[in-house]
């Protein structure tokens, strides 16, 4: 019996309930797991905490889940391309917690690495530092940023094998490999499913140990395609 983590899309999110904390990969369209997000929307679960670099653009991806009122809290870096979600935030319909992008990445990575936090000076002279835990280290006053973990991570891969080894493509890598280490239940949608042994061990971005379920995408919906508003 070899290892086989393939699951159907319909049942892969059974462990999501109201109040679940979910990390979602992607930076813009590349690397956003749109099929898993649509499935998340279909579960009808509410009061979610979502951790994602941004909220995609209005009407797309995680924005659909937020717009449907399913999200209590969004932990993110920047919402500049999503006026709808900024509006919800400004009207108090959505709690938003912002971090500098690389610090968000490091908090997630620290969670994945079984660390409790990182020590940084980013934002030290700004509003951001106001409510942060401080520490004096080597004569400097620094910020302690606690690690972040989630119940579930939704990840988009370019290719996976049945063991759960993953590779990402180009700028679709972004937060995916970090989130793939930082949740108790890591669910991956993959464009291609390869037989074990087809991936070159030196080229694997996420080792199988971190992955719980693999969903093979039958086809890529239009959301995965080119966004006309960004074409020259």
């Amino acid at each position: 019996m070899t290892i086989n983590k393939i699951k159907p899309l319909q049942t892969c999110l059974e462990s999501v309930t109201d109040g679940t904390t979910i990390m979602v990969g992607g930076f813009g369209v590349p690397g956003t797991p749109f099929a898993l997000i649509d499935r998340l929307l279909e579960t009808g679960c509410r009061e979610l905490t979502i951790i994602k670099n941004e909220a995609n653009e209005d009407g797309m991806g995680i924005s659909k889940v937020i717009e449907a009122g399913r999200v209590r809290k969004l932990i993110t870096s920047h919402l500049g391309l999503n006026a709808t979600v900024i509006g919800m935030m400004n009207r108090g319909e959505l709690e938003v917690e912002f971090y500098p992008q690389g610090i968000l990445a490091e908090k997630i990575r620290a969670g994945g690495a079984g660390l409790y936090g990182i020590v940084t000076d980013i934002g030290i002279d700004t509003l951001l530092a106001e409510k942060k835990e401080r520490i004096n280290l080597q004569g400097r006053s620094l910020i302690i940023e606690p690690a972040l973990r989630a119940d579930i991570a939704l990840v988009h891969a370019a290719a996976a094998d049945h063991y759960g080894n993953l590779i990402y493509e180009k700028s679709a890598r972004n937060f995916n490999p970090l989130m793939a280490t930082a949740a108790g239940n890591v669910i991956v949608e993959t464009e291609k499913l390869l037989s074990p042994g087809q991936l070159v061990p030196d080229q694997i971005h996420t080792p199988a140990a971190f992955v719980d379920s693999i969903v093979q995408l039958e086809s890529l919906g239009s959301e995965y395609g080119i966004l006309e508003q960004h074409v020259l």
């Binding site: 930076f27 369209v29 997630i108 002279d125 972004n174 395609g225 020259l232």
Partner: protein, 216 residues
Amino acid sequence: MSYKEKIARRAAAEVQPGAIINLGIGIPTLIADFLPDDASVLIHSENGILGMGLRCRRGMEDRNLIDAGGNYVTLNTGASFFDSALSFALVRGGRLDIAFIGTLEVSHTGDLANWIIPGKYSPGIGGGMELAQKARRLVVTTTHTTRSGKPKILEQCRLPLTARGCVNTIITELAVIDVTTDGLVLREIAAETDIDTVMERTEARLVIPSPPPIHF
């Protein structure tokens, strides 16, 4: 050539061969068009690219290849992809030679304010705070004044800071200004302007060096 392109062209001249640079949104994005064509500079993009090329021409888009602003881009020789943690490790670890960034305000001591207008504009933080605080050299490219003609180069920032004392050089359509321990030094002025005009449109006191600023 628009005034934005003029700023971008002048900014491109600050880049030495072999440099690793990051181009923020707005005017900085235009700098890529004025860099040498020989792959002697590597452009970093926060979303995990080193060696990013120009914006992609219509019809050639790769759905997996965008810059941090969402634009489809090309790739230069020597490029690599990496995750968001390594992308900012590169920035915070001191391997980014120059970040070009836009701004709302900049102070005479090089404080930068460009991320929030309380109650009016607060889209988040993004990568800007780390770029501002940790690039080995931070070059602000901006119009000299706001649309309504108010100075952006101030004695003190009024808006909440992005980072304190982080700016090294300010490049506008009127001037190139270095932030030094002696204050803001007017290194160059645009061909079509004069020192008095620049000083009038700048709230912060400018130091006029000797010899006086050259034209660009």
